[in-house]
Each structure stands twice: as C-alpha cells, then as structure tokens.
C-alpha cells in the first residue's frame, strides 16, 4: 500500500456519496466513449454536442429517448427488486419477449371487443413474463439450481420461440416473404403523443411500477424480507422469513414487469409480433445496467433508464448524423457497467493517513467486525 496511508473500510455509505460515484462512473464512461469517437476520426466534443442537440434539445429526438427508456424502466425497476434479494435475474430479455408474445396472441386471436383488448394484452403480458420467471424461481428455491444460468438460457429459448412463431404458426397472411405476424387491429394500438412513437400509457405504467416497487421495498413486511434475504440470508432464515414464498412473489413481480415492457413494444411501436432482434434490441440486458447503476433503487432506476435510453437513442443519431458505427452504444453500455465496478472500492474503502510508527494491518486493510458492514 501507499506509504503513510492505509485503506479503511467504511462503516456506512451515505446516499450522496453513492450518487456522486454513480455520476462519476457515467462521466468516466462518457470520456472513454469520447476517446472512441476520436479513434473514429470524429471530434468528441462536437460529437457530443450533436448528440445532445438531436436528442435532448430536439422534441422528436427527446421523444425517441423517452420511448427507448420505457422498456428499460419497466424491466429495470423489476430487476432492482430481484437484485435486492440477490436473485440474479438475467432473464429480463426473455421475459420481455414472452410478454410481447402473449400480448400479440391476445391482439391477434382473442376476439375480445376493442376497449377490453389493451387491458387484456397488458394482463396477459404480465402473466406470461411472470410465468417465464417462475421456472427458474422454483428451481432455485426448491433445488438450489443456479438462477443466473436458468434465466439466461430461457432468453435464448424465448428468442427462438418468437422466431418460430413468426416463421410458422403466426406468420402473417398478408405479407409474403417477411417474417412477422399480421398487423394488430387499431384497437390494440397504444396511443402515442402526437406523431411520435412515445406510447404514454406504458410510460405512466412504468412510473407507477417504480412507485409501487419502492413502496413494496420500504413500507411492507414483504419488502423488509426481500432486503433481509439480500443483505444477510442467515439472519433472514433465523427470523423465519419464508424464502420460498418471498422469492416466488418477488420473481413474479420482477419478471412480470419485464413482460409489461414487451407489451409496450408490440402494442406501442411495432403493432405486430416482429423478429426478437427488432422487438427488444437488448433492452433486457441493458435493464441490468439500469438496475445496477441505480444501486438497486426502483425510483432511481427511472433516472438511469432515461440515461441509458439516451445512449440507445444516440446510436441512431451517430449513424445518421455523424457516420459513426451504431455499435458504439454497445461499448458505451459495457463501459458504464465496468465503471460502476471500478468506483465500488471508493464506496467501501477510504484512504486514511497513518501517523508515523503506527501499527499497520497485515495487508493495509483494517479488519472490521462482521456485523458492522
């Protein structure tokens, strides 16, 4: 360690410091993205100016940012709940797709009267997303099967299920040669603001979901149990937390929220079931970054989803206005997550000046009694 200093573990971490460091992570990731711009021969500051000009300062651009943020909000809020209990749901992508499938099924085949159609689609999407999460949840609590792998595997299953549907049984009759379903009847289209693609009912739902999950986490016994399971599983067990029931409920809410995001995409944007690569563009994976950047706080996830929605929307602008490869956004997303990891030590440790000749811990880290952290 550096002479005259030692690392000391912090007892508690203030919210202000947490936010400052999350912001720091974003700034570092943006600087590195700027370096990428330069590597592709575009002046970074001018590039960022163009991006801001075409996304945030432009009404249509801003609507694109928000509409990209909608699925990220819904899926991301759900993930904050799962991650709080340290249930590693990496399957939001699949849960989102299945939500889209269920909504499409209702829109295409239910024959429900117009006004009932959209509510039924949202219900079906939530149920289908939740059901997609149920298997991994049951396997985890009953048999201890690693949920990271099962939820992730189901993403691929969902992708190929959608591909099968749009190439096979649900292939549109009106469109030969293209792999998507028929277009929904207009009663199954979500209203948007003006001529934009901003489907506001889903946005409202996303905000409501964030408030609901925040309420669950902070004000209910269920939320207390979720946090306990995440922070000290042993204590949760001794306190009699029913981990079976709690895990099941939290996964249903988490995966169901991702399912709702899928409903928003098919009912608000595409108006039919399309290829998984266009339906989701990786929202389920980006939602993981949303939840972690928000430090597992559902209300904060609304903000981080807006930020990552901006990153996604910037990809289009990069391609069109700056002639930069849109794949840069994928790197930026990875950089954001890496930077979150990079700032973590600053959260947990602080550098303390050590008086000369004072005793130093064996490797510079002063041991802290277990219960303190």
């Amino acid at each position: 360690m550096i002479a005259g200093f030692r690392l000391e573990q912090r007892g508690s971490i203030g919210p202000l410091r947490t936010w400052a460091l999350s912001l720091g992570a974003i700034v570092v990731a943006m600087v590195l993205t700027g370096v990428l711009f330069a590597a592709f021969g575009v002046a970074p500051l001018a590039a960022f100016a163009t991006l801001v000009d075409r996304t945030i300062l432009d009404a249509r651009g801003l609507s694109e940012v928000v509409r990209r943020a909608i699925p990220l909000m819904l899926a991301g809020v759900g993930l904050t709940l799962a991650f709080r209990a340290r249930f590693w749901n990496i399957g939001a992508e699949g849960q989102l797709l299945i939500g889209g499938v269920a909504a499409s099924g209702v829109a295409l085949f239910s024959g429900l009267p117009g006004p009932l159609l959209l509510p039924a689609m949202f219900l079906a999407g939530f149920a289908a997303g939740a059901a997609w999460g149920l298997g991994p949840a049951l396997l985890k609590v009953r048999l201890g099967v690693n949920e990271i792998i099962t939820t992730l595997m189901l993403n691929y299953v969902a992708i190929y299920l959608v591909r099968w549907l749009i190439n096979g049984p649900w292939k549109g009759r009106s469109l030969s040669g293209f792999a998507y379903s028929d277009v929904f009847e207009p009663a199954a289209w979500l209203p948007t603001i003006g001529t934009t693609r901003l489907h506001w009912p889903t946005l409202t739902l996303a905000i409501a979901a964030a408030v609901f999950v925040a309420w669950l986490l902070t004000k209910t016994r269920f939320g207390f149990e979720v946090r306990m399971m995440g922070e000290s599983p042993d204590a949760a067990r001794y306190a009699g937390v029913d981990s079976f029931r709690t895990t099941l409920v939290l996964v249903l809410v988490s995966a169901g929220a991702a399912g709702l995001a899928g409903v928003g995409e098919v009912a608000g944007i595409h108006h039919r079931l399309v290829d998984p690569a266009s339906l989701s563009v990786g929202y389920g994976y980006t939602a993981i970054i949303v939840a972690l950047l928000a430090r597992r706080d559902p209300l904060a996830a609304l903000v981080t989803a807006a930020f990552l929605g901006w990153v996604a929307a910037s990809g289009d602008v990069m391609q069109v206005a700056l002639r930069l490869p849109s794949q840069i956004t994928g790197v930026t997303q990875g950089l954001v997550l890496l930077c979150i990891i990079g700032v973590e030590p600053f959260l947990r440790y602080r550098l303390v000046r050590v008086p000369r000749n004072a005793g130093n811990g064996p490797d510079g880290v002063r041991p802290v009694p277990k219960g303190v952290q």
Binding site: M153, Y156, R163, G168, Q327, T332, G334, I340, E344
Partner: protein
C-alpha cells in the same frame, strides 16, 4: 456394415466437435471456481477471443497464430475480471456480467468490417496416427476432427492430474475451500485466485478461437450465442471435476447432435432451442442427484477473501 454402429460412431464424431468449445471454456471455469472465483464473463471472453483469433488469422494467414491471439485476449479479459473480483474485491457477479456485456459490445464494434467474410485459411482436420487406421471408427471418428478437440481431452486429463495430484492443485483447491486456512499456511490467496481466473480467461479465449478458426471459420456478431453461459453450467454439471467435464461435454454434444436427427419433424427454430433447454435440464438433474444441495461446490465459491474477516 452395421447401420446402427455407423450411426453411433457418426453421432459421437459430431458430438465431439460440438463439445470442443464447451469443454475448453468449462475447464477454464472449473479451475477459476475451484479457486473460489465465479466468472460470469466467460461468454464475453469467448467472443473477444473469437474475434481476435479471426482477425489475426486472417491478416497473418496462420490460424495457429490466431489461436495464440485468441488465448492471449481471453487471458487479458480474465486479468481484468481478476483485478475487479479478486484484487479490488468488487462484486464478482457484476464484474463478470460487465465483462460479458462489454466484450459483446466491443467485439461487435471492432468486428463489424469482418462480418460474413469466411476465413481464408482455417484450421484443418488431423488424422490421429494408428487410431485412424481402425475399421469403422478410424475414418469416421479419428480422421475428421480438429487438433483442438484432441488437445481439449488431453487438457482435461492434465488438469485433473494437476488439481488432484500436485501441490499446485492442492493449493488451488484449498484457496477455494478455505482461503483463511490457506492464508494461515502461507499460501498467497490473492495471487492464486488471480492466476486461476487469468487461466480461465485464456481457456475461454481458446474456446472462442475454436469457433472462429475451425468450427465455423468466420466472424459473426454474437457468434458464441450463449455457449459461454452453457460452459458455466457445465462446470456445475461436472461437479467441478475436469474428467467429468469431458463426459458432460460429450453427453451434451450427443444430445444436441441427436436432436438434429429430428429435423424432419420439427421446425429449425425449435431445434435451436435444444442446447439451452438441455442446460436447464442438466442443472436440474445435478440438483436432484445431490438432494437439492450444491454438493461438490468449493466451500468458499463466490466469496471474496479479505484477510482477518473470519
């Protein structure tokens, strides 16, 4: 010639090829996890390995130079994970995920000019001496495989020996079972874990290189398609034992190959789901077999080690 025997041998031959990348990546992950570190970045390390291998092989004309690049790139990515997960003691799940997402993004960006171009000179099949002269199995099993397939089996054998019969193996396992005890016995826990993770990254890089240099000699964005994650599952399914990993990889490859004999009856998209469903099934069976406990898992798997904490 007996049709049944031919079918079995051909299936086994295809299964061997399919299981090769899984085996390499799973072996690497077994070593890292035996030392106590989970690496969710395997998928990312495979994909950057695949791209680096392809680019170097394409520009140098030598697929083996490509493989060296794939291994080195995987090792560097592994070192990054080791830095975050072992040295900085950041959340190792998040660190691994970050590397997977970053690796997929970066390879997509760098590799976009190479998409869809086949590799000019890919790895070639090797004929094993003597064995390839055998009737029936000779031409079907021992002539049409890549060297990396056989090297993978050899690597499994060597790793099994090292883990169970050498001091290095004992040290690695102790670090994963009881780091505090290892520390007390004078083992440098952080160092052992660091290099175990770097080794895991190197093996994942080789696995990626096998894909882009031999199995499908080309580059495609996201071409690993979840194989890295399946390899993670295989480490568990094999109960962290390199020899069982060989059996697991073969079993997996066989299931997968057999599912393709159903292609007249099922749509291709449904068959493509099979490996992922097998993976879930395999993990479920593992859990059943051991009565619902993560039996065989290194005791300190997934726990960062801080001196003096216990």
């Amino acid at each position: 010639m007996d049709v049944g025997a031919v079918f079995v041998v051909t299936t086994l031959a295809r299964a061997l090829a399919f299981s090769t990348p899984l085996l390499w990546a799973a072996l690497g992950e077994i070593v890292a996890e035996r030392a106590g570190v989970v690496n969710l970045g395997v998928e990312g390390m495979m994909i950057v390995g695949a791209l680096a291998g392809f680019v170097v092989a394409q520009s140098s004309g030598d697929p083996w130079l490509g493989l060296a690049a794939a291994a080195a790139t995987g090792a560097v990515a592994g070192a990054l994970h080791a830095f975050f997960a072992v040295i900085v003691r950041a959340d190792m799940y998040v660190s691994g995920l970050a590397l997977t997402i970053f690796g997929l993004g970066l390879s997509g960006l760098i590799g976009r000019g190479w998409v869809g171009r086949p590799l000019d000179r890919s790895m070639e099949f090797v004929s094993l001496p003597l064995l390839s002269q055998l009737p029936l199995v000779g031409p079907r099993l021992f002539q049409g495989q890549y060297l990396l397939t056989w090297l993978g089996l050899l690597a499994a054998l060597m790793l099994w020996f090292v883990l169970h019969h050498t001091r290095l193996g004992l040290v690695t396992r102790t670090v994963g079972e009881n780091p505090a005890a290892a520390d007390a016995a004078g083992v440098r826990v952080v160092q052992v874990r660091f290099f175990a993770v770097v080794f895991g990254g190197l093996m994942a890089g080789v696995a990626g290189g096998f894909l882009s240099l031999a199995y499908r000699p080309s580059w495609g964005q996201g071409m690993t398609n979840g194989l890295g994650w399946i390899a993670l599952a295989m480490a568990i399914f094999a109960l962290w034992d390199p020899l069982r990993a060989v059996l697991a990889a073969l079993l997996f490859g066989t299931f997968f190959t057999l599912s393709f004999s159903l292609q007249d009856r099922f749509a291709p998209q449904l068959l493509t789901m099979m490996p992922y469903l097998f993976t879930i099934l395999a993990l479920t069976l593992t859990a059943f077999r051991k009565g619902g406990r993560a039996f065989g898992a290194p005791e300190a798997l997934g726990q960062p080690y801080t001196r003096g904490e216990r």
